[in-house]
């Protein structure tokens, strides 16, 4: 079992890893609820998760007290800022965290002994693991499956224009069982050298024409921005949600880009 921090194992400075924990446990989903007068509480539509703390304890054996300082300096640099944490049990998934604690333990014995233990604790406010590699599927009028993990993801959807303009495109999201879950209706005409960049997270839309992007929120006419959710998959292995396109005229095409979460 090993951990990679920003893609590096720390093996060049660390003698051995002693403990890695906090990265496996599932994080509970907390549903917001509202109390009703003269009745019991009811669930609201929003849900939250609490973050996780990942502990990584290592032993270091620098050759001297002076080298111990150098090792500490190197670690301080490499553990600064937002960190990507990957563990060998899930090498294609990444946690994002920051170093919260770095506790040094000195062994009993001669004061000149440079050996020490380092207990690193990372704060991971979003407990889920993301795909390291972004997923991509080509979109057309024939719905295509979009694999999901255990969580929900807001994708980026790009709709392409064509020489025969694509007029009033619609993005359809279907459940794994084929039922329509949502549609995003857009009122626009996409000609050659033009595409529509839809960020379903921020719910912002950009029109890119010959490489120049402009905000195009006005094209959203109705419906809802699609969310790729495990709850729309029949099982964890599929059938997965599907995405398809339609339009008033023209042949709609595009791509969906997203990262699965667990």
């Amino acid at each position: 079992m090993a951990a990679l921090i920003n893609g590096q194992s720390l093996e060049d400075v660390v003698f051995q890893a002693l403990d890695l924990s906090g990265h496996v446990a599932r994080s509970a989903v907390l549903w917001d609820a509202a109390a009703l007068a003269n009745g019991s509480a009811v669930f609201l539509q929003s849900a939250r998760t609490v973050g996780r703390r990942v502990r990584y304890s290592v032993e270091l054996r620098p050759a001297s007290l002076i080298e111990r300082v150098a090792v500490q300096d190197a670690l301080a640099r490499r553990l600064a800022g937002v960190l990507e944490l990957v563990t060998s049990d899930a090498p294609a998934r990444v946690l994002l965290g920051t170093l919260e604690e770095a506790t040094v333990g000195m062994p009993a014995g001669p004061i000149d002994n440079p050996l020490y233990l380092l207990d690193l604790v990372f704060n991971v406010p979003d407990p889920r693991r993301y795909d390291v590699e972004t997923q991509l599927r080509a979109l057309s009028s024939t719905p295509v499956a979009v694999p999901v993990g255990a969580g929900a993801t807001a994708p980026r959807i790009v709709l392409f224009g064509a020489a025969t303009a694509v007029v009033n495109p619609v993005v359809h999201l279907y459940r794994g069982d084929g039922e329509l879950a949502a549609s995003l209706e857009l009122v626009t005409s996409l000609g050659s050298n033009t595409w529509l960049d839809i960020d379903c997270q921020s719910e912002w839309v950009y029109r890119v024409a010959s490489g120049v992007a402009t905000l195009a929120l006005e094209v959203v006419a109705g419906g809802a921005f699609p969310i790729f959710s495990a709850e729309d998959a029949s099982t964890v292995a599929g059938p997965f949600p599907r995405v398809g396109l339609s339009s008033a005229s023209g042949t709609p095409t595009g791509v969906a880009l997203w990262r699965r979460t667990w």
């Binding site: 920003n6 994002l96 969580g151 879950a181 050659s192």
Partner: protein, 255 residues
């Protein structure tokens, strides 16, 4: 109902990592910016068809329109699944980032899949640190030309050019290639090319003192040597420039 899932919706965070590299872009994020948020400038004034998507089993393609980066998953770990996202660039594509680290000891790691489009031509450039005119002091990785041409890593101090030309190893279309090049503080070049994970082919070039600065306007570029000259062609996965104090074995890391 997917629009209000009981599991919270993940926000597609784009963390801006602190730089422990001089420059680091990776296609897995599906962004043109580097991992520290430096925006990339992408140019392609035409569409490109036949770009593969990630559907298992392959065979599904799309047409990337004018100025849309041709993101395309491929198999990088040799397991038959197209799990790694890369940026497919032909001779009409250019990607660059403003600014360049000053001349110093540094190492380049470039991960590509060969497309075979330019390796038989002279000067097809996969990576460079050069100005728009591709003149003056700079670095670039290009093809030597001829039907048996190979890749080489070049360094110019503005008047003299040193080239480390591989004497063996010529990737064919579809092969995974990792390039590593090291510029020493004395200006010597060590160049390595690993095809399909095999032992690297190597080349060196004699030392040439580093200039005080690169040519004015030098940028880090993928797939071209200047604003318009010497385009390359490849599927790009990672471009990373590290300070030379980093061990070769660590250069493969994400950051």
């Amino acid at each position: 109902m997917s629009l209000n899932p009981s599991a919270p919706i993940v926000r597609d965070v784009d963390p801006r990592l602190l730089p422990s590299t001089l420059h680091h872009w990776r296609a897995s994020r599906a962004r043109l910016s580097t991992v520290v948020g430096l925006p990339g400038t992408f140019v392609r004034a035409s569409s490109v068809s036949g770009v593969a998507d990630g559907t298992p089993g392959g065979g599904v393609t799309y047409t990337a329109p004018h100025s849309f980066p041709a993101w395309s998953p491929r198999d990088w770990d040799n397991d038959g699944a197209a799990e790694a996202l890369g940026l497919l660039m032909g001779t009409a594509d250019r990607l660059s980032w403003a600014g360049a680290p000053p001349p110093q000891a540094m190492m380049l790691r470039l991960e590509i899949v060969e497309t075979g489009a330019v390796i038989g031509s002279a000067g097809g450039t996969l990576w460079s640190l050069r100005n728009d005119g591709a003149t003056g002091a700079g670095l670039w990785l290009d093809t030597s030309g001829t039907a048996s041409g190979r890749y080489r890593f070049n360094y110019s101090d503005g008047s003299t050019t040193r080239s480390a030309l591989l004497s063996s190893g010529r990737p064919t279309a579809g092969q995974r290639v990792v390039f590593e090049a090291e510029l020493s503080a004395a200006g010597a070049i060590a160049f390595r090319q690993s095809i399909e994970g095999a032992a690297p082919n190597t080349a060196t070039a004699a030392a040439l003192a580093l200039p005080a600065s690169w040519a004015s306007g030098a940028r880090i570029r993928l797939n071209s040597r200047g604003a318009s000259s010497n385009p390359g062609s490849a599927w790009y996965r990672v471009s990373k420039l590290l300070p030379a104090s980093v061990d070769w074995s660590l250069a493969a890391g994400v950051l």
